[in-house]
């Protein structure tokens, strides 16, 4: 198991979760529009499949919501 902090929640993910795309699939949000920040770095969309995650990493998954 791998421990990640995703949107402020410390969470265990299985070993096969190796990239940001895998994290999105793990949470069943791979088809949603989102912006990803990995350890404080905002990622280009194209980098999600390549960017590897490691134990202890911080991942922020954000989206647009209604606001004024």
């Amino acid at each position: 198991m791998l421990e990640l902090t995703v949107n402020g929640n410390r969470t265990q993910v299985p070993e096969h979760v190796k990239t940001i795309s895998d994290v999105k699939q793990h949470f069943h949000i791979e088809n949603q529009a989102m912006i990803v920040e990995h350890n404080g770095e905002i990622l280009d969309k194209s980098a999600h499949t390549e960017q590897e995650v490691a134990d202890g990493d911080k991942v922020e998954l954000v989206q647009f919501v209604g606001g004024g």
């Binding site: 995703v6 949107n7 402020g8 929640n9 949470f27 069943h28 949000i29 949603q32 529009a33 989102m34 912006i35 920040e37 905002i42 990622l43 280009d44 969309k45 922020e60 998954l61 954000v62 989206q63 647009f64 919501v65 209604g66 606001g67 004024g68």
Partner: protein
Amino acid sequence: MLTIGDKQFNSRLFLGTGKYPDFDTQKAAVDVSETDVLTFSVRRMNIFEPSQPNFLEKLDVEQYSLLPNTAGAKTAQEAVRTAKLANASGLCDMVKVEVIGCDKTLLPDPVETLKATEELVKEGYTVLTYTSDDVVLAQKLEEAGAHAVMPGASPIGSGQGIINPLNLSLIVEQANVPVIVDAGIGSPQDVVTAMELGSDGVLLNSAVSAAADPVKMSEAMKLAVKSGRLGYEAGRIPKKRYATASSPMEGISV
């Protein structure tokens, strides 16, 4: 035509996307408003309940210029980060700087607001800054490179209307960038007043989304913006203490 930075808009009404009763009502209200600019916020996804619908799904976002806000930020640094997150979507390069300094009144922190504006202008964003109705601060924001200043009419969501029309008119008078009145508007009357004072536009959210009939209110606001602007351009008559007859005084048959 309203020009902000290198962008041009037909409508002077900017619409927020928060707190509508449902997405269909929101879409209908947005459609009837004929707005060009929609604001929204950036928030964490709910990873434990991923099936919740997103407000963008119902709207054809290509039709609009999207204006993300930095609401939730309490420091310039947080506001800059939020702006960068929004920009990474590839959907927008404008940002509404909003740095709140007080949880109770939701009034902006002037120091952090100015810092965030400076930083985001340097980064190349088109920056619209939400500010209090402080005349000097509006000037400083313009000097910092803000592409528009957005003075609040009164506290966010309060619906109190324009509580300091004098300050607003002074901000309008000195400004060399568009002035978009943001926050606190309650009724079409408030919008007409803002526009008659010479504001270049208004940004509304709760006044429409929390109205008993948001779609009808959206139309009322659209007309108020147009009416107020036309009135401003036409030039109102000065107020006088005593009457001036509009019918000829000569030839009265008695």
